[in-house]
């Protein structure tokens, strides 16, 4: 049933080793199966890919550049730093690679309505964008706390014609938005498609979202060979749920490249305020799959923290969990402070304002580069741009908005 050109496919139940699967409520099992069947049919259909690639090229603006960041390299001191510029995608982040794919799928399935969860608002914006283009009704579930942190993206979604539904349960952040979207989907799956935003959740989402994002790593691989004449020694990506990371790292896993996932250390890995589910969590079951998560000894999911709303999530995708458990994936982390420093460093050195999520990857990538030789190469996924984070950064740096000069 699986198309043979899907590399490293999970088993038929969506398990990546001991992780993944479909731990969903009975009511969702059939809707998930329908998405799975539609996805495999679409994936085997050249017309689906032709339309997807046309949109990725002419609407999203792919291929995104690979940029040799010489000034940042000089600042870090060590290996050559190359940035995969996912921030240059339409809507400002990698998220649209996935929403284009899933919206095409929703249309193939005859669904007129889409829903999505969002944390930082990037997935919400990317979903609202494709919903506007495909003329679909769109409801975005977003934690009240994230609505406060990401006001510009909330307004963007509204302009695009989406309803932004505030979620007040639990910690009012991304995990609660997922819970609420799942609850709504249970009651509306007949006419509604749930555009899941990361490579996590029940099968087939981890596989499907990965497939829509591997374009990142595939392009980067070819661009490294074309520009530098070789593959990078290290590839670095930040990890919340893990969609930009799996998109970048999956196509590189069969090469002799160190793969590094950077988690949000928040106030520090030894504090209780971080989102490092791989480094500090353990296997458990949340949101439809078995993977690493942050919970207490009673199995209750714990509150997380990161300055970046997009990384503020207690779980992680099952394929990354499997790559970590097998030793293929290295872990690193960056604190809120590290991310703020890297945010400013990249902005000043290269004139590129990164998303706070991506700033975690920049922070760790610079550190790694500093420990390497100048003839070596570090590839960092710059997953999004930072305009949406200016309010947060202004607050964090104590910038007085009243006296802008």
């Amino acid at each position: 049933m699986y198309n043979l050109d899907i590399q490293h496919a999970p088993d038929l139940g969506g398990h990546f080793g001991e992780f993944g699967g479909r731990f969903a409520a009975e009511t969702l099992m059939q809707p998930l199966k329908e998405i799975e069947d539609a996805f495999f049919a679409a994936w085997a259909d050249p017309a689906f890919h032709a339309e997807r690639m046309d949109l990725l090229t002419n609407y999203v603006g792919r291929a995104t550049p690979l940029y040799h960041a010489k000034q940042l390299t000089a600042e870090a001191g060590g290996a050559q730093i190359y940035l995969k510029r996912e921030d240059l995608n339409h809507t400002g982040a990698h998220k649209i690679n996935n929403t284009i794919g899933q919206a095409l799928l929703a249309r193939r399935m005859g669904k007129k309505k889409v829903i999505a969860e969002t944390g930082a608002g990037q997935h919400g914006v990317a979903t609202a964008t494709v919903a506007a283009m495909f003329n679909m009704h769109c409801d975005i579930y977003m934690g009240r706390e994230d609505i406060r942190r990401q006001a510009p993206n909330v307004f963007r979604m509204k302009l695009l014609g989406a309803n932004v539904v505030p979620v007040d349960s639990g910690s009012s952040t991304l995990k609660d938005a997922v819970n609420e979207a799942l609850r709504v989907w249970v009651a509306s799956c007949e006419d509604t498609y749930y555009i899941f935003g990361t490579a996590a959740g029940p099968h087939p989402f981890p596989l499907m979202v990965r497939q829509f994002h591997t374009v990142i790593g595939q392009e980067a691989r070819a661009q490294c060979l074309a520009q530098a004449g070789k593959l990078p020694d290290v590839a670095v990506a930040c990890v919340g749920g893990g969609s930009n990371a799996i998109g970048m790292l999956h196509p590189l896993q069969d090469d002799d490249i160190r793969l590094v996932a950077v988690e949000a250390a928040g106030h520090g890995l030894e504090s209780n305020a971080h989102s490092a589910s791989l480094a500090k969590g353990r296997p458990g079951i949340i949101h439809g799959s078995l993977s690493y998560l942050l919970d207490n000894d009673e199995g209750q999911i714990q509150p997380t923290h990161s300055i970046s709303a997009g990384l503020d999530y207690p779980g992680v995708g099952p394929e990354l969990a499997a790559m970590f458990a097998s030793g293929r994936l290295e872990l690193d982390s960056a604190t809120d402070t590290d991310a703020l420093v890297a945010f400013q460093a990249l902005t000043k050195a290269e004139g590129i304002i990164p998303a706070l999520e991506s700033s975690h990857a920049i922070a760790a990538g610079m550190r790694i580069a500093a420990s390497m030789r100048p003839d070596q190469m570090v590839l960092i996924n710059l997953s999004g741009r930072g305009d949406k984070d200016l309010g947060t950064v202004m607050d964090a740096l104590g910038f007085d908005k009243g006296s802008a000069l």
């Binding site: 139940g13 699967g21 479909r22 731990f23 969903a24 409520a25 009975e26 009511t27 969702l28 099992m29 059939q30 809707p31 349960s169 639990g170 995990k175 609660d176 819970n179 799942l182 609850r183 249970v186 009651a187 799956c189 007949e190 296997p283 458990g284 079951i285 949340i286 949101h287 439809g288 078995l290 998560l293 919970d295 000894d297 009673e298 199995g299 209750q300 999911i301």
Partner: protein
């Protein structure tokens, strides 16, 4: 033993020409002590008591049971309290069915072995884990079996014939049919559709079928009791707690009245 006990519950009800009343409350809501009193009271009125294990992220529950879970966790409810409550209910009621309902991560984190052993010791007959569908049941099936814990499967309006067959194969105790595609406490589905689906399920399984989700008024219970083996009432009972949060005595009383009213609708009308 546990399957036998549940079988006996349903057999007794069948003999009395009525459906079994299955009542749900979240353990530890609104406090451990109050919950104990509420559970003991509910156990007097129902044939099977469903003890909810509170969870931080109850994805399949509507607002009423979500709030119950939050109150229970805020009150400091731990799994050892849940086992203790079950154990007390069992000691006071040797013949009723007792099942746990909850989400996979709680028993997973405890370890399915430790979970099943303690449930067995407390006199629990079965467990229903919302996010462990038939396809994933291998993760705990053998352990549950070894500890004589029935593995209760959910079926829903969206369940295909193939899925019904699968649930029939791996499930035990009884089948919990979700009357609507939605979360707990939403509006009940149409009676005719529920009835039709139950006939389909009966083609694949000899297990008793209980119908739940959205049963709030006695009249609905009466309609379901006419053709189902059991009627599950959850959010409606929990909301008796919600409306009397300031008064422990009134809370127990309101629950008792609500349970009694539902119980009165279980007998099936004599067929002329």
């Amino acid at each position: 033993m546990s399957q036998l006990r549940l079988d006996q519950v349903f057999a007794r009800c069948a003999q009395e020409n009525r459906a079994a009343l299955v009542g749900y409350l979240t353990a530890g809501d609104p406090s451990i002590l109050q919950s104990e009193a509420l559970m003991l009271k509910l156990a007097e009125e129902v044939d099977i008591i469903e003890i909810g294990m509170p969870f931080s992220d109850p994805m399949a529950d509507g607002p009423v049971i979500q709030a119950a879970s939050e109150r229970a966790l805020e009150a400091g409810t731990k799994m050892h309290d849940v086992f203790a409550i079950a154990s007390k209910v069992r000691r006071a009621n040797p013949n009723i069915g007792i099942i746990f309902m909850g989400y996979a991560n709680v028993p997973y984190t405890l370890g399915f072995e430790a979970f099943a052993a303690q449930a067995q010791a407390a006199g629990v007959d079965g467990a229903l884990l919302v996010d462990i569908p038939a396809e994933e049941s291998a993760i705990c099936a053998k352990i549950f079996k070894a500890h004589d814990l029935c593995h209760i499967m959910l079926l829903a309006p969206t369940s295909t014939e193939q899925r019904i067959a699968l649930a029939a194969q791996v499930g035990s105790g009884f089948i919990y049919y979700v009357s609507l595609a939605g979360t707990t406490g939403a509006e009940m589905g149409a009676i005719a559709e529920i009835k039709e689906k139950l006939s389909l399920i009966r083609k694949y399984s000899n297990l008793p079928i209980c119908v739940g989700f959205g049963i709030k008024v006695p009249e609905q219970a009466r309609h379901i009791a006419a053709f189902a083996d059991g009627v599950v009432v959850g959010s409606h009972f929990v909301s008796q707690i919600t409306s009397n949060l300031q008064d422990s005595v009134a809370m127990v009383e309101a629950l008792s009245v609500a349970a009694h009213a539902m119980s009165a609708e279980m007998p099936r009308a004599e067929v002329a």
